[in-house]
Symmetry: C2
Subunit: 329 residues, 2 copies
Amino acid sequence: MVKSNLDLLAPTPLHCLMPASFPYYEDNRAAYTANLANYHAFRVSGYDATLGYMLNSVVERFPWPQEYWKIDSEAKTVTLLTPENADPALRSKLVQDSIAEAVKQNTFEVLKGWRNEKYPVFAPGGEYLLEIERSASCLFGVVTYGAHMTGYVEDGEGVKLWVPRRAKTKQTYPRMLDNTVAGGMCTGEKPFECIVREAMEEASLPEPVVRASIVARGCVTYTHVRDVRAGGETGLLQPEVEYVYDLKLDPSVTPKPGDNEVEEFKLLSVSEVQGALVRGEFKPNCAIIMIDFFIRHGILTAENEPDYLDIVARLHRRLEYPTASHCGK
Amino acid sequence: MVKSNLDLLAPTPLHCLMPASFPYYEDNRAAYTANLANYHAFRVSGYDATLGYMLNSVVERFPWPQEYWKIDSEAKTVTLLTPENADPALRSKLVQDSIAEAVKQNTFEVLKGWRNEKYPVFAPGGEYLLEIERSASCLFGVVTYGAHMTGYVEDGEGVKLWVPRRAKTKQTYPRMLDNTVAGGMCTGEKPFECIVREAMEEASLPEPVVRASIVARGCVTYTHVRDVRAGGETGLLQPEVEYVYDLKLDPSVTPKPGDNEVEEFKLLSVSEVQGALVRGEFKPNCAIIMIDFFIRHGILTAENEPDYLDIVARLHRRLEYPTASHCGK
């Protein structure tokens, strides 16, 4: 049983740790509509769906190859024009060629962080449409997918969480605190296999331990607005789906850095994690996975968190874009 | 550890078990706006907030006492006019008097199910505004609050859930399956105390067992559109917040009907619950608490449920009305 650490949790503005967010229509219709005027909808011909929102300033500066892009500044759309028989490989190549031109012309800061990892983009119904270089996904505002796992230990004193510090050499958010194991999902990856792989790579956790004891606990979804901490252009939208896992570890099992991504792991109490959250030491999207963990484990409750309902809804935003289905494929 | 019962879970359209839902602006802006034309916004003077949406046909038939109601059919608003120094008692009395007149005139079917229980309505910031008779809350479309607890047992074969059948004398959804313990929250009640009280009343669970082992696991929020199964007028909106609790029980503890609400309790396997869900045997808002349980316990996953992301977001709708804060009051 997880103890509720009410005494340890001073009332803190956890609400402020939620990622800077694209406005909600429900909250303020005028503000939502006004904000949307800053963006163009990214579309692919033949599909009736907005795949992401691109900042107007990105659309203006992008060196679009005119033969396969249609920019409509009236309708505020950017459409990839593809032949009717196009397949994901062709669509991906056209997008890739366009990004390569932007890299060549040195158009965008965020492309200096080239990852050489491909992220999938889906059409309505979960159809795989194309893939895109990871560092460019925020220019197009497409949904990206990741898997986050919290490793924890329970003893008489309550819950303790295994928290890594990101290596100082990490391209993004160096030296910030992170979730025990987390990773982005490349084309073709499924969440469970992604988190098992990352658990071995990042935390040296034995595969049999992970497979036997890890439990899928849902997912967290939100639309992040990039700020200076992410590096590069600001105001870019990052709609994200994070599949959430818990792994209750035996006290004898210790995660250890397995690659150069993590500097060290520490076993922190709930109040220590809470303190680090409030001081802004966690990478922003990892902070909200911690908040989700606290809610799921009865540590944050309706009775001790004034913004409880607001936070729970913000952790599970209904994204206004088509999303993946990882079922049975 | 909860076993993932992949083999037991045939792919079923769980998505169809989600409550008939008020449309999402994100999904179809035109449909959302068109649908909204069927409703008036319920407001209280002095507060800049829509507290609920009332069907136009309800607004037309309601015998509004003109001295303290303003109906604006242009702006589609119904506003309770209160003096500036009004307090919750006065506002509640004005609403109560209006409902009493509708009861006297026999205007609405739903008021024949008079409960004599008062549900609270909140202003922005969680300020307690007024209370309203439970059976009338769906006429005004205000947010209502409840607490649902799933009692379960784990053994070598996996998870088994304690599932009650509602008494045949219940006013709503007689003989349907329910959550182990569930109840609506009246004015002044907090979720945790509500569920402890209901656990004793409905399931005869000893208070020390419940207090020691129950864990708050978040909440489920949605806007239900009432259909014939609920009785009375259809198309009424019921935005609901259900605080969710798990109680892992020792196999030696058996819930027993403690009042006349429950006919019997049965310990069902995941596949038995799944079968009952698919056959529509669960009360609708209890079905979705079961789905939430399956997601939180790794039984439904991204890999075995095609509508996983859609379901998780629908379970946590951001309500477009002010909601309660149960913190520290």
